[in-house]
Amino acid sequence: MTERNPSIDDVTNRIQAIRSEIRRRIVGQERVVDHVLACLLCDGNALLESTPGLGKTLLVRTLAEVTDLSFSRIQNTPDLMPSDVIGTEMVRETDAGRTFTFEKGPVFANLVLSDEINRATPKTQSALLEAMEEGQVTAGNETYDLPEPFFVLATQNPIDQEGTYPLPEAQSDRFLLKVVVDYPPEAAEREIVDRYTRDVDASVPVEKRVSTGELRQMQRLTHQVPIADDLRDLAVGVVRDTRTADDLEYGASPRASMSLVRAAKARALIEGRTHVSAADVTAMAPPVLRHRVVVDFRAEREGLTPDDVIQTLVEDR
């Protein structure tokens, strides 16, 4: 083992402990767990997309338990109003008379699970996304800070399902990563069935592995992971290539370049490295970029997906 800073080793050990604890409940989704963990370390927000029943909600709940973060859940429906998310002014009867008090909504938590965000109307989506971007909400004439760390994990069903309002591209750009949750392998699915059907009480206990303060420290260290100039250029180059790619209608913004570098740093720390490697950049390019680019009509007709185009761009670099 190298002679490393003890605090860095502490961080990597904590990260491994969080991974192990989450994997006690989540089986066969190691890549998804790592991506969500990377999002948490980057102080970013994640968008999980999958068909129902793949354990998205369980993953977020488990993450909240392991990291000792306050947790709240928003179940998005077409009739959900912005005030249902951020809170509202209430009239209360007191000894001094009637006063307005702000009743905080479910967005006031460290870890917010916004389930099926694409079932909410665009107005409600915007309210949540504004909270994500600003880290604060405004109700009436008052502005309220959201707790730190603030982490939104939104889930959405594939947009070809009925009754959904796809997120506008400008809004989805605010998610650091879009993680696609796929069906687990057969062996993992057997393990899931065995683990959750043996007893009536099938809950798998997990332990808290990191405090809120420690998590903030880990986030600071994640930002400080050094990256070589040529690897930074690689990240910027891949993002810039999305703007000129023939198969894309439009590409990603400079925010995507920043997100790619941050995500690569987080992956490096999760892997126990003190520096970013080229593999970190290329591995994190699809989840960072897939929701920020739009495949043009011709390429879509040929069956190309954003992942296909991004993969091609990465390989060409």
């Binding site: 002679e3 800073n5 502490d10 420690e214 903030r216 420290q217 260290l221 690897l231 490697s277």
Partner: protein, 295 residues
């Protein structure tokens, strides 16, 4: 782990150590470039010298400063040798510049893949004067890995071996050329009348005639009657019949066109080590002379 605890365990500043390590790597890389450039330059000198010797251009054989070297026991250099040395120096400078132009960290990474990317990142972080805990951890990590790294990988043993063998072959060829004097007959455009020129001209004419047929009368000139040649030479080859017990040797006399005879004569040889045979040789010579006069 707490935020305060991190401050208590502030790691030592390794930036200067990383810079020193990078400087050392640069020196090692320059040494490797020097080795390659020197060997390749030696090959260029030998190849150029060989080419000068083989082509045999008279201009290149002109001796430089003969007055200076007359008093010395060594031969003076000629223009060809000077040209070969200049070519070698040029090759050395060019290769050294090209090899040292590539970033040293990348060259060292190729030789030591285990420090790949970490070294480059540490270099960039040190250049940017970063000293946060993650950068310090990287510096410590890189310094630890460099202890197990080696600059020997900068030298390709196979490539160096092939170059040495090639240089040896070139030197042997150069020596061979100097002793035997191989000349492929290439000369400068200004020279004329040399053997090489005539050979080239004859070959050129032959090639041309084989390509196009010319008029015979034009080549041979006007047809004239010739009664006799101006010089009449008679050549005869005689042979004496062998066998029948006649052991005496018989040599024909040769005559030229004027009828003047040349007596056949057999050369005598007496080995200085066998002086006692001299009388015998003289007696044989007299006998042979007597036989020829009998004819």
């Amino acid at each position: 782990m707490s935020e305060d605890a991190t401050d208590d365990r502030t790691p030592p500043d390794n930036r200067d150590d990383v810079r020193a390590a990078l400087a050392e790597i640069r020196r090692e890389t320059r040494k490797a470039a020097f080795v390659y450039a020197s060997l390749d330059a030696a090959c260029v000198v030998l190849a150029a010298y060989l080419a000068v010797g083989v082509t045999g251009v008279p201009l290149l054989d002109v001796e430089l400063a003969p007055a200076t070297f007359d008093s010395l026991p060594v031969p003076g250099p000629d223009v060809g040798a000077l040209a070969a040395v200049l070519a070698g120096v040029s090759a050395f400078v060019a290769e050294y510049v090209v090899r040292t132009r590539r970033p040293v960290a990348e060259q060292f990474e190729d030789a030591n893949p285990e420090v790949r990317e970490a070294l480059r990142t540490a270099r960039d972080a040190a250049d940017a004067d970063r000293a946060n805990p993650m950068a310090q951890a990287l510096y410590a990590d890189v310094l630890y890995r460099l202890r197990n790294a080696s600059s020997l990988g900068l030298l390709d043993a196979t490539r160096l071996g092939v170059t040495l063998v090639f240089a040896l072959a070139l030197s042997l060829a150069a020596v061979q050329t100097a002793v035997v004097g191989v000349d492929i007959g290439v000369s400068t455009a200004g020279s004329s009348g040399g053997v090489g020129d005539r050979a080239v001209q004859a070959e050129s004419d032959e090639n041309r005639s084989s390509v196009e047929l010319r008029n015979g009368s034009e080549v041979l000139g006007e047809e004239t009657n010739v009664s006799a040649g101006s010089e009449n030479v008679t050549a005869s080859v005689g042979s004496s019949p062998g066998g029948e017990g006649d052991e005496s040797a018989n040599y024909d006399r040769d005559t030229d066109g004027d009828g003047a005879g040349v007596e056949a004569e057999r050369a005598g040889f007496a080995s200085p080590e066998r002086v006692e045979d001299a009388d015998l040789v003289q007696r044989y010579a007299r006998e042979l002379d007597g036989n020829s006069t009998d004819d």
